[in-house]
């Protein structure tokens, strides 16, 4: 039930902000400060999520095969690889390190 509550809230919230962008007159939201904040908010959230999903095990911080996978993704990004290749690199390297007992 909790999962459905979370899904329902996310559906409503995400659709509402998408629609708001198309309906609200530009001058209401297009203040420079608001725009800067909207640009920086995903930076903070994505950085925190990347770190947590790489190094978190419940409430503990661990260094395991995922770190190697994320390193591979970072290398792929530096080499300007396409999106799918970046994700595949992380998955393959993580699986490989685990298979080797990492």
């Amino acid at each position: 039930m909790n999962t459905w509550i979370a899904i329902g809230l996310t559906v409503l919230g995400c659709y509402a902000v998408k629609l708001a962008g198309l309906l609200v007159p530009a001058h209401v939201v297009e203040r420079p400060l608001v725009r800067r904040l909207a640009a920086l908010l995903p930076v903070a959230l994505l950085a925190a999520l990347t770190a947590q999903q790489t190094f978190a095990q419940g409430h503990a911080l661990v260094l395991d095969a995922r770190a190697a996978g994320l390193g591979a993704a970072a290398v792929a990004l530096v080499l300007r690889a396409p999106f799918l290749v970046v994700v595949a690199a992380a998955v393959v390297v993580t699986a490989g390190v685990r298979a080797l007992g990492g």
Binding site: N2, T3, I5, A6, I7, L9, T10, V11, G13, C14, Y15, V17, K18, L19, G21, L22, L23, V24, A26, V29, E30, R31, L33, R35, R36, L37, A38, A39, L40, P42, V43, A44, L45, L46, A47, A48, L49, T50, A51, Q52, Q53, F55, G58, L61, A65, R66, G69, A73, A74, L77, P82, F83, L84, V87, A90, V91, T94, A95, V97, R98
Partner: protein, 242 residues
């Protein structure tokens, strides 16, 4: 940008650009399906997310937070804040596409990173409309199809960790984040958010550290505004998300 006076671009070229983005990103719905199923969500729940939320970062964030044991409200809040950027995409697109009022509730569902990137790259309104529609349609169909296949596949392959599929989520986040790190401000925000997110993880309930880490954004605006000795609204424009 002059969206009506630019040189015309052949429709076929626009469709090709749009299909390239739509197919590549649409296929990564597979990673979401697998991750979501691996996080303990049911088939119906996983597919509902792709059909109704349809903004990848928020979907990954939600299932990640639920898997970590976060309560539904903090989990949804994290997903929502990630989705807020779509409102700013919509502002630009509504001017560029001149979407008829009646179509807006439908078009809204396709206002995401990829459709915005393709649409903003077009020289004319006609090309922008074709780009938006083709990217949106391709992505929506493929993303939902591959989500279903991924969720079914996750059951078939059993332990998704053995296949390294738990690394797909953070890799997606990193791929979305990398192009945003254009100036020192962005990098400082990312660094501070990582420190907050990891540092608070052992002491706060699941899902809450990410929300606290989001405070790195307003904090950086205040600091950079002070340092410049004027309002933060004078910060450089090119750093703004696309």
């Amino acid at each position: 940008m002059d969206i009506t006076g630019g040189a015309a671009k052949p429709d076929a070229a626009v469709v090709r650009d749009a299909l390239g983005v739509g197919v590549a990103v649409g296929l990564s719905g597979f990673a979401f399906g697998v991750t979501s199923a691996g996080s303990g969500l049911g088939l119906l729940q996983t597919c509902a997310l792709s059909l109704l939320v349809f903004t990848g970062a928020s979907q990954f964030a939600l299932v990640g937070a639920l898997a970590a044991g976060g309560n539904p409200y903090t989990a949804a809040a994290g997903a929502f804040f990630l989705g807020v950027r779509n409102a700013f995409y919509g502002l630009r697109l509504s001017q560029l596409l001149a979407v008829p009022r009646a179509v807006r509730p439908l078009a809204a569902q396709w206002v995401i990173d990829e459709t915005t990137a393709v649409t903003l790259a077009q020289p004319t309104r006609r090309a922008a409309r074709i780009g938006f529609t083709v990217t949106g349609l391709t992505l929506y169909v493929l993303w939902n199809l591959t989500t279903l296949l991924g969720a079914l596949g996750a059951r078939a392959i059993g332990d998704t960790r053995a296949w390294g599929l738990d690394a797909a989520g953070p890799a997606v986040f990193l791929a979305l984040l990398a192009p945003m790190l254009t100036t020192a401000t962005e990098r400082a925000v990312a660094g501070l958010a990582v420190l907050l997110g990891l540092g608070l993880l052992p002491v706060l309930p699941a899902g809450v550290p990410v929300l606290v880490a989001a405070l790195a954004a307003p904090l950086a605006l205040v600091v950079s505004g002070r340092r410049a000795g004027r309002g933060p609204q004078d910060a450089p424009e090119e750093a703004e998300a696309r």
